[in-house]
Symmetry: C2
Subunit: 331 residues, 2 copies
């Protein structure tokens, strides 16, 4: 089995590649090659008898995407995207990468597959986002609630979902879109994403550093761990897709937790001294952005399709600690 | 006021132009010029002191669209589209006209307007369709039901709605999308659209000709008259758009009528002899297509925004008869 990961140098993409390399297979089929494509070369090497090719390039260049698809990967994970904050500022770049890039990918597959006439038809796992939803919404968003994004990023992801469904319906691809929750705890350095503090208030205190909490304790959000995200991708890459019918994008199960609940979980795991590192500095701008984000979902379809959320937030914290210990021991 | 009608040679576009020419104004502002663009030159002439320019061209050519926008029309009605049946067969053409054409239009406006920095920002009225919805759906579809189109045409319209909302949110346009019901009674010759019989079973019997009814009498559908469609466009072209907030596309009010109710209205207007012209020839293929179409809506937002449906189906029939008489007396 040949696998292509577009956007494979990011946090989730690298973790997915690592997992495929250590498992040696996707579902019941053994993995022969992994092609990792991103705007920078991912630091991933061949291992376990699996050939890894890494490549840097531009997904908004149609010719580049055609070349990627010419290798006829069996499963394609499409994770490449300009993130929400940047797509909002760099309007043209966001549309070029997030919309045109996705369309180039779909078109390259369609044309190589002879326009659906029984030719090449790979599985395409498209990572979408809960940013396809915009306020006002009900406390729990269900599977038939409409997409009314309030960012260009969310708009581009919603368009990707529509294209994915149509190309699947026409028989050009075997598509599935998965809307990832906010990933917590992200490893590494703090970033400037508006959602960054959700990871920061756990990651920094565990490392003995202060973290700023810019919103109030009763803010509720929809989160999943990095491991859960990889689990979603692997399941999407192997599950029977026929059960989805024509509706190919699913909101992934997550945990709906408040900041207060996250802090209490941190206290149970790492004590009062860790919690003391959280400094409350209200930021009205970030608070306003977060106020427009979904808080909770009823993910009935995804659960019926076998996607599983993290069990609880404490387990997410403990998994993060284990990851960090493993990383320190390795390097 | 300068008005541009893209797709102005079609039935609704021509009726809109006629109405603007006879009213002499849009809302409270007098109309100076009407630029009518379509794939063929529309047979519309200057009248009532209003200059009409007709032009034939290709909306999927970015340069052509740039030229159209260079005239800085105050209000743009975008009606151009490859219809449902053709977009399903001619995949590339459908995307080129319905998706790329709409995007070229949005991009031409954005770039001429200096990327939202207080420059040119026209009102754009985009005609969408209830084809953005796909079965299964509730008996009455409400304003927050999700778009899950089952045709490429519906997909392209749904993408147009998303782009329209994002370009409006960013301050590039004053956008509004209106999802038209099936227009009944369409004048002229029968066509091969799957929905054609909804008009045919009224139009042909009134003209003393037989019409085929390919579905059962209990089929329910969502319809509006040609006059109602023009009324929607004029209202969308003049109403205060601020009340819409970020959700810029609305399902237009219509009548939810069964075939049986349509036939009984025809009987009241034109008697048993007209009804006798309706020949029942069940067509399983058309029946299957129609089965996937929405039947009824709760159009609360559109009604609050001042859009008005036809009063009843009998009035639609009488208006069609009056139109035909007027046409005969003129020609």
């Amino acid at each position: 089995m040949r696998i292509l990961i577009i956007g494979g140098a990011g946090m989730v993409g690298r973790r997915l590649a690592d997992r495929l390399l250590s498992d040696g297979k996707l579902g019941s089929e053994s993995v022969k090659t992994i092609h990792v494509f991103d705007v920078t070369k991912a630091p991933i090497e061949s291992a376990n008898g699996i050939q890894v090719d890494t490549e840097a390039g531009d997904v908004s260049d149609a010719k580049t995407v055609e070349r990627l698809i010419a290798h006829k990967p069996d499963v394609i994970f499409h994770l490449a995207a300009i993130v929400s904050g940047e797509a909002e500022v760099a309007f043209e770049k966001g549309y070029r990468i997030n919309m045109d890039g996705t369309r180039h990918l779909l078109e390259a597959i369609r044309l190589l597959g002879g326009n659906g006439n029984g030719g090449y038809r790979p599985r395409l796992v498209f990572t979408s986002s809960i940013a396809v939803f915009g306020a006002p919404f009900p406390n729990k968003i269900d599977d038939e609630f409409f997409r009314a994004p309030l960012t260009s990023y969310g708009t581009q992801k919603a368009i990707g979902e529509l294209l994915l469904a149509d190309y699947t319906r026409k028989g050009f691809i075997e598509g599935i879109g998965i809307r990832l929750p906010t990933i917590v705890v992200r490893p590494g350095k703090p970033n400037k994403a508006a959602s960054g503090f959700f990871s920061g208030i756990i990651r920094e205190p565990l490392a003995g550093q202060d973290a700023i909490l810019p919103v109030s304790d009763d803010v509720r959000h929809w989160v999943a761990s990095p491991d859960a995200a990889v689990g979603f991708l692997l399941h999407a890459g192997t599950m029977d897709l026929a059960q989805l019918g024509d509706r190919r994008s699913l909101t992934m199960p997550g945990l709906s937790v408040t900041i207060a609940e996250m802090i209490e979980a941190l206290r149970r795991v790492a004590g009062d001294s860790a919690v003391a590192h959280i400094k409350r500095e209200h930021d009205p701008q970030i608070a306003a952005i977060v106020d427009g984000w979904p808080r909770d979902f009823r993910t009935v379809r995804a659960e019926q399709a076998g996607f599983r959320a993290d069990s609880d937030f404490e387990t997410i914290i403990r998994a993060h600690i284990a990851d960090e210990e493993k990383r320190r021991s390795q390097g």
